[in-house]
Amino acid sequence: MTDITSSTFVRRNLLTERPAPVKTTGFVGLMRTRLFNSPTNILLTIVGALLLWFTIIPSVRFLLVDAVWAGTDRTACLTENAGFVVGACWPYIQAKLPQLIYGFYPEAERWRVNLTLFLAAALLVPLLVPRLPSKGLNAGLFFFAFPVVAFFLLHGGGISGFGLSWTAGILQLFDDSIIGAGQVLLNLSKTSAMAPLLWVIGNLVVLVGTAIYWLIFPLTSLRDQLQGTGQSVWADFAITAVIVSLIAFVLGGGVRTGWRALASSFATFVAIAIVIKLMGLDHGGLPIVQTGLWGGLLVTLVVSVTGIVTSLPIGIALALGRRSTIPLIRIFSIAFIEFWRGVPLITVLFFATYMLPLFLPGNFTVDGLVRALVGIALFTGAYQAENVRGGLAAIPRGQGEAAAALGLSWWKTTSLIVLPQALRHVIPNLVNSFISLFKDTSLVSIVALFDLLGSLRASFSDPKWSTPSTAFTGFAFAGIIYFLFCFGMSRYSLFVEHRLNAHRRT
């Protein structure tokens, strides 16, 4: 024993390290300190172990151990042929994989789907990795150029005009509906009790419509002349390019500072021209594949990506509208949000698919997939609006006041100060809604769209693969696919949250 009570002390032998009397590290330590350190924990550990035993073990047995991995039809997956109780029947998935991915998309055209998915990945991945440069161009390509290219790739078809024709067409449609409304009023005036009033209003409306007709006449006649020439698309394209570039040049500041805008406008049109030429859009484009033939994972991805990309702006606009000081905007936003939140998605899809065509004029049809897309986007948009509103409410009033005091307008305050903070607050909620949207896309199968789950269920009826475990295998496979996408979104959102909230870590 060293005498440490004496005033001077010099250690003669350095003490060697020795193991702790009770092990607190490693596996044994973990057991002692975390799993079996109290009666409650012992009980919980046992219950947990049992739960794992009864879930993990059977899953692994079903998916891997007892699974059949090779075969050409159902016989391989029957217990009497395999010699054991068969778990997952993977050859069935292998055989049905094209159907699960493409649906009834014609086999010869499936490269178009592959190319679209490849383009999507090639544009999306760099967008998601923060370190990579030129986010603005990347986002522009993904959110604006890609949807158009994807449409012509997946759906096919060409264009018969460009900006000028489209503008003329929209204006003409608008004008036609005005004149049409006027004529309806005139017809009513023949039978109604308020005949003189209706007659006056009807004539006025028709007059306005006719005035607009002559106002847009130069545009429509130019369009008709262009259609007469052999090169209508390119002529229209050139005119549109010149007009848009000129506008960009003037808005960009004219001779002094407008050159940049002119250059980017020019570059954009060159890119569009290349796309039109490459895809042959000026003479019919790719063969048309009706959306009724689309199916499987393709439909799931089209519906969910479109829903995700469009619902967020809708939600932001509605959330801002709900806080607007202008009564009309506020009331509209509230009514819109409450309507969509009060209706089940299934009802929305049913309505869009089966009821809407009854209300629309006879010659006016909207593609079934598009109807479902719009329904889902608006439905999710209403939910996102409430999520965003939660974030907006968390921003102190002083933020807006400070921005206003610096002279920032409402739009700049909102887009630079309020929204960036509000959206960061609600990333978990937003992604929650995205994940729920992704899974809700499976509901489109009830309106005759064959998404991943729909295609899967359709494949169950194939007698060639009818075995006791077919359905279980299929659902397990679909579950794994859905889980991978949802888990991926979840993890990425955590990453984004962590990164964007750098300012909250001190």
Binding site: G398, E401, A402, A405, G407, L416, Q421, R424, R504
Partner: protein, 245 residues
């Protein structure tokens, strides 16, 4: 130093039925430093918030550097470009770095190229003595540092008038001094300042005039010497006796 840069005449404001500002007349000359004090709820913050139209008012007129601000709040943007403001709770933008806080308005309101805006911002951050913190986020700084950043942020817009709404009330006692020192420096450079504060030492040292408000009206206005040595109104005497105890 003779023409008024801020001229408030006949200003009346109501919150619903509550008459919060009553017949305020006040002229501020270029380069003048005015301290506004008074009990809480006397309308002093509301008054200076009217000057850059953060509050609307129902009667009267405010003219800032020749720009007229009436009850319909026309010319709000023009006035706000002339007037800088510092808040009690700093109101820095927490998601932006200190430097970005200071360059945001010059870039987006005045369309100044980013590089120039950053150079200007660094100049003002040096003036408030925190250039080395430029890349930190506001949440990583002390209250006194945040308030000095807020002053620098307001200065980057080259305002002709600076409004301070109780700039030291939310600070620990130790940090009050660093903010007051910054404000004294600013005053010595000739900035026109309207300061709502209870820091009577600052008022004595810096102010040209002290304005005492109660119940939405100006009770007394005088030079600091006269104001503290010989208050005229009974309400002023009571207030001073309580605050200077």
């Amino acid at each position: 130093m003779s023409d008024p840069i801020v001229k408030i005449s006949g200003l009346n404001k109501w919150y619903g039925e509550f008459h919060v500002l009553r017949d305020i007349d006040l002229e501020v000359k270029k380069g003048e430093r005015i301290v506004i004090c008074g009990p809480s709820g006397s309308g002093k913050s509301t008054l200076i918030r009217c000057i850059n139209a953060l509050e609307e008012f129902q009667e009267g007129e405010i003219v800032v550097d020749g720009i007229e601000l009436g009850p319909n709040l026309k010319h709000v943007d023009a006035v706000r470009r002339e007037v800088g403001m510092v808040f009690q709770s700093f109101n820095l933008f927490p998601h932006l770095t200190v430097l970005d806080n200071c360059t945001l308005a010059p870039i987006w309101v005045r369309n100044i190229p980013k590089r120039d805006a950053e150079a200007t911002a660094m100049k003002f951050l040096e003036r408030v003595k925190i250039p080395h913190q430029a890349n930190k986020f506001p949440g990583q700084m002390s209250g006194g540092q945040q308030q000095r950043v807020a002053i620098a942020r307001a200065l980057t817009m080259n305002p002709k008038v600076m409004l301070f709404d109780e700039p030291t009330s939310a600070l620990d006692p130790e940090m009050v001094k660093e903010v007051l020192d910054t404000m004294v420096d600013l005053a010595e450079e000739g900035m026109t300042m309207l300061v709502v504060t209870h820091e009577m030492g600052f008022a004595r040292e810096v102010a040209n005039r002290v304005v005492f408000m109660d119940a939405g009206q100006i009770i007394e206005a005088n030079t600091p010497n006269e104001f503290f040595a010989a208050p005229q109104h009974a309400r002023t005497k009571l207030f001073l006796s309580q605050i200077l105890r």
